[in-house]
Amino acid sequence: MDIDLSKYSGMIHLALGGGICFFTMYVLVSVSTMGLRLILHYFNSLGLLAFTESMNATSLFILGTAYIPSGFFGGLYTGYRIKENLRITFLFPALIGFAGLVILRFLSGYTSFSILNLQQEFLIPILGNVVGSYLGGYAMNWEIEEIEKTTGTIEFDMSQVEP
């Protein structure tokens, strides 16, 4: 039985974009957390992490250095492979990557329903992934968007044309 994979190529690329987003996020979250600790240790201030106010600072740092970049890389791949329905398309790598992260965290016991931190474990990752994915996708297709805008606005007024 022959299966025509070309019919599913869009979905495959979306899934691969989501996979890139997830894998990058998995690596960058660890690297960013480690990097932040090294920076604070270098400035003789590792103890700052004990204060609840520092949680917001940590969230901002991880958002900027892990969640947005991982969405960006997922979006770059998806934007390189898919050129249609861009507004909807770039949502998928972010959602797939985020779902992967949530599943991994629940399976590894990092997160549980009893001690759920909605802001840190749901809102910030998904916000970062979605923003990053759109930025990555549109960075890859920016010229197409520009050309489409330009070509879309030029119309001939036939009444002005002399026979």
Binding site: L40, H41, N44, S45, L46, G47, L48, L49, A50, F51, E53, S54, N56, A57, T58, L60, F61, L63, G64, T65, I68, P69, F72, V131, G132, Y134, L135, G136, Y138, A139, W142, E143
Partner: protein, 202 residues
């Protein structure tokens, strides 16, 4: 440069700078010389700036336990401060047959040594010092012990392990414990004393 790429780079820079601005304000609010002042619901302490500190609260039907773990980054040593509220104290005392502070120290030491024996069969317990010490207006009973060959590292090598247990039992339990492997205990001892002197139990 394409606009989305520029926005991406700008977002990273802005978020990183904002993060460190928040850290800077937290630093300014809590720093006192070489120490940070940590004020919590049950305990206030000063601890060295480059120590790792982790406060937590464990609430369940038998009461609330409040704790802080403090650890230097370069030494195999750490300190725990635990405060039990009235309900948690009652549950702990009834469950473990504790009569007073010395019996609590012995109970915890026994529990620790039994746990150590599971890891290192050849460990031997030596009592080094017993007495009382005042912390934040409470008189705590303490024992310092050395578990010879009690600490086993990842390579299976044995080291001597020194522990100090302090406790106060009344309507609430206050437990303070610090420990260190080999000479790390001695190196961290001065900082442990500074933390103890600054501790204010509420």
């Amino acid at each position: 440069m394409r606009l989305p790429l520029a926005v991406f780079i700008l977002a990273i820079l802005v978020l990183s700078v904002a993060s460190f601005a928040v850290f800077n304000s937290v630093f300014a609010a809590h720093v006192e010389g070489d120490h940070f002042k940590l004020e919590t619901r049950y305990v206030d302490i000063d601890f060295p700036r480059n120590w790792y500190a982790f406060p937590w609260e464990d609430k369940n039907i038998s009461g609330t336990k409040y704790g802080i773990l403090l650890a230097p980054t370069e030494l195999r040593a750490s300190m725990f401060i635990l405060v039990y509220d009235q309900d948690a104290t009652k549950a702990y005392v009834e469950q473990n047959g504790i009569l007073d502070a010395p019996s609590l120290v012995v109970f915890e030491l026994e529990r620790l040594f039994n746990w150590t024996l599971e890891k290192s069969e050849n460990a031997t317990l030596h009592f080094l010092k017993n007495g009382t010490v005042d912390v934040s207006g409470y008189t705590l009973t303490y024992s310092t012990v050395m578990m010879e060959k009690g600490y086993v590292d990842d390579q299976g090598k044995n080291y001597n392990w020194t522990w100090t247990f302090m406790s106060y039992v009344s309507d609430k339990i206050l437990q303070i414990t610090y420990h260190g492997v080999e000479e790390d205990y001695g190196k961290a001892l001065n900082s442990f004393q500074v933390i103890l002197n600054s501790t204010k139990v509420k």
